[in-house]
């Protein structure tokens, strides 16, 4: 792609990831040379239905990894488990060598693994800039006593400057003082992503970043995701659209009926027999779909 060629640094990160992953065997649960996230035996069932049953999976550091699969494959549930928004029945996973099983969601975020949501959670009754400021971690003014004593004004300036910088990057600066509720669906996705970057993450988990985004904004969102990799972050994202997956991901993990069924670079995975039959023969998934969908709705409604 021409615009990629114009940014050699981008090419290098992407190429580096591709080079490292080139020798990795194309099989489910395969070990990676430098994994940032390693999950083992993660299971979660809803009323007898196993929504997630992942025996082993690893995510390569500094790469963009796509998590794909038919509806109800358990991708979002797996996301919720990894980020502490749901509790697994069994399993453990290491993030940067630290055991994350049983760690509450807010602490997962503080440890550098930040997530976004399928149904965007921009706080619509707050201004865009306040949404951004909320993202910053280690704010003294978020402690009650310091807040009362007003010991936060200095830091607020730093936080605001950082927020403005990100807003400029995500082209939201002119919306700074607007309520987030007045933004379009795509702008909310951008805001949510920008806000998550305020936490200074090492790994960004995006749950369907393209859902509900109008085509005009899709390209810009994709560039932003690639930009994360250029800044040295690891990205794991859930996506349905295979064109998007092919365009930006270095590695693809395919889930079906709760398990990882295939892994590999985007081009190869899409020719995989198991993947094709999972997508086409979606008949068995019906029951799972219902459970997966209703769960995410409840979780996001809480």
């Amino acid at each position: 792609m021409p615009d990629n060629a114009s940014t050699p640094a981008a090419m290098s990160r992407h190429e580096e990831a591709m080079r490292i992953l080139a020798d990795v065997p194309r099989e489910p649960g395969v070990p990676k040379p430098d994994p940032i996230l390693v999950a083992d035996h993660v299971t979660r069932s809803f009323g007898g239905l196993k929504a997630v049953d992942v025996s082993h999976v690893e995510i390569q550091r500094g790469s963009i990894t796509a998590l794909v699969g038919p509806n109800g494959a358990g991708k979002t549930t797996f996301f919720n488990l990894l980020t502490g928004f749901d509790t697994p029945d069994t399993g453990s996973w290491l993030f940067n060598g630290k055991d994350l099983a049983g760690v509450p969601s807010y602490r997962v975020a503080r440890m550098g693994m930040v997530r976004t949501f399928q149904l965007t959670k921009a706080l619509s009754k707050m201004t865009v800039i306040d949404n951004m400021r909320l993202g910053a971690t280690h704010q003294v003014g978020e402690r009650m006593l310091q807040a009362l004593l007003g010991l936060w004004r200095g830091q607020e300036k730093t936080v605001t400057a950082q927020a403005d910088e990100l807003l400029a990057r995500f082209k939201l600066l002119e919306k700074r003082e607007d309520f987030a509720g007045s933004l379009s669906g795509g702008q909310r996705k951008l805001l949510e992503m920008a806000r998550s970057l305020m936490t200074d993450p090492t790994m960004v988990m995006l749950d369907e970043p393209m859902a509900g985004v109008n085509p005009a904004l899709t390209q810009s969102l994709l560039e932003h995701i690639k930009g994360l990799r250029e800044q040295g972050m690891t990205v794991l994202f859930v996506e349905h659209d295979m064109d998007v997956v092919r365009d930006i991901s270095d590695w693809v993990i395919v889930m079906a009926q709760g398990s990882v069924i295939a892994e590999g670079p985007p081009g190869e995975v899409m020719r995989n027999e198991a993947v094709i039959s999972a997508y086409l023969g979606g008949h068995h998934d019906k029951a799972l779909t219902d459970s997966g969908v209703s769960f995410t709705e409840e979780a996001s409604g809480t």
Binding site: L123, K125, L134, E142, L148
Partner: protein, 331 residues
């Protein structure tokens, strides 16, 4: 019909004891419900803890008034922790049910014959406020006259202390809600998962809001205890909590001065209606005089209920609120 008397009652009620007490209680609910979205339906319990702490400390433990205040504040913190731990991780309506149940538990214990020696049963407790009035710096004849109504120097002293506490509470709320702390709790009010995903310990913030609101409730309890020189289990019924909600929503939730404006207007109208109706009955006004005094008192509460419904339906932001910002109609 003595209009000047009705007016005098409205003015003294707008700034009187009840207005202070319910203003403080409503400020507490504003922190919990208005800013953080927590449905504490047990504010009456926090008021009871404050009031009874002072009474029991002075009368039964023979300790000073100030120890009563200390125990009351500690008691409110403990109560908030007890209520918050099981419920703050659950959906909003669970907190509502548990807090209303806790308030009833506390009231039943306070009025029980079993603990009558300690809490005074349904008669409550008296004669504990001397330590408070010993601080009265006003001269004995410092009466305030508003038309036909007279406010004596003890009442005046209580009002001065009470409104100072209201001002202090407002200052605390103002400082907090414009700080990053306020930003976090407002975020929680709208979507706690979003806030959680940004690394904030939502449970701790909710607990802080519950405790702070409960402390304001305990302050309300102190003022009602010393102002009436009496604590009585039946002044801490569930209706007291609901009155405070009506006041908050009238003035404007999630506004620093919402509860203050609400309480002033509420009590002026509430007591004004009472005097008006009683005078109308005495004057033999048609239709109105079919009621007796009890019915007039009941009618007022009926109107509070109706008012709360209509406010919630047509103007949930109250007088001062901003509908765009208010998360009341979320979920």
């Amino acid at each position: 019909m003595d209009w000047s008397y009705i007016f005098a009652v409205m003015v003294t009620s707008a700034f009187g004891l009840q207005a202070i007490v319910f203003g403080l209680a409503a400020i507490g609910i504003n922190v919990q419900f208005g800013y953080t979205g927590l449905l504490n339906f047990g504010q009456a319990a926090f008021m009871a803890v404050g009031g009874y702490a002072v009474a029991v400390t002075v009368v039964e433990l023979n300790m000073s008034f100030w120890w009563g205040v200390v125990f009351g504040l500690i008691g409110a913190v403990i109560l908030a922790l007890l209520l918050g731990v099981p419920t703050l991780r659950l959906r909003a309506d669970y907190l509502a049910i548990v807090t209303i149940a806790a308030a009833e538990i506390i009231r039943l214990i306070l009025r029980s014959v079993t603990f009558k020696d300690f809490f005074g049963g349904s008669d409550g407790k008296q004669a504990f406020a001397d330590g408070f009035f010993a601080m009265n710096f006003l001269p004995p004849d410092a009466d305030l006259r508003i038309g036909p109504a007279v406010v004596n120097e003890s009442q005046l002293f209580t009002y001065i202390v009470g409104w100072s506490l209201v001002a202090l509470a407002c200052l605390v709320v103002w400082l907090l809600v414009r700080s990053p702390w306020g930003r976090v709790v407002k975020g929680i009010r709208e979507d706690e998962d979003a806030v959680r995903s940004l690394g904030k310990n939502v449970f701790v913030y909710k607990m802080q809001a519950l405790v702070l609101g409960g402390l304001f409730g305990a302050l309300a309890g102190f003022i009602t205890a010393v102002g009436a020189q009496n604590v009585n289990p039946d002044s801490f019924k569930t209706d007291a909590t609901f009155f405070a909600y009506a006041i908050l929503i009238l003035g404007g939730a999630a506004r620093v001065f919402g509860p203050v404006l609400g309480t002033v207007i509420f009590w002026a109208l509430f007591q004004g209606t009472d005097v008006f109706l009683r005078q109308a009955i005495d004057a033999g006004v048609p239709i109105v005089s079919l009621m007796d005094g009890t019915q007039a008192a009941v009618l007022r509460v009926m109107l509070v209920g109706l008012g709360l419904m209509l406010l919630m339906i047509y103007r949930p932001q109250g007088i001062l609120g901003d509908r765009r910002e208010l998360a009341l109609d979320a979920r």
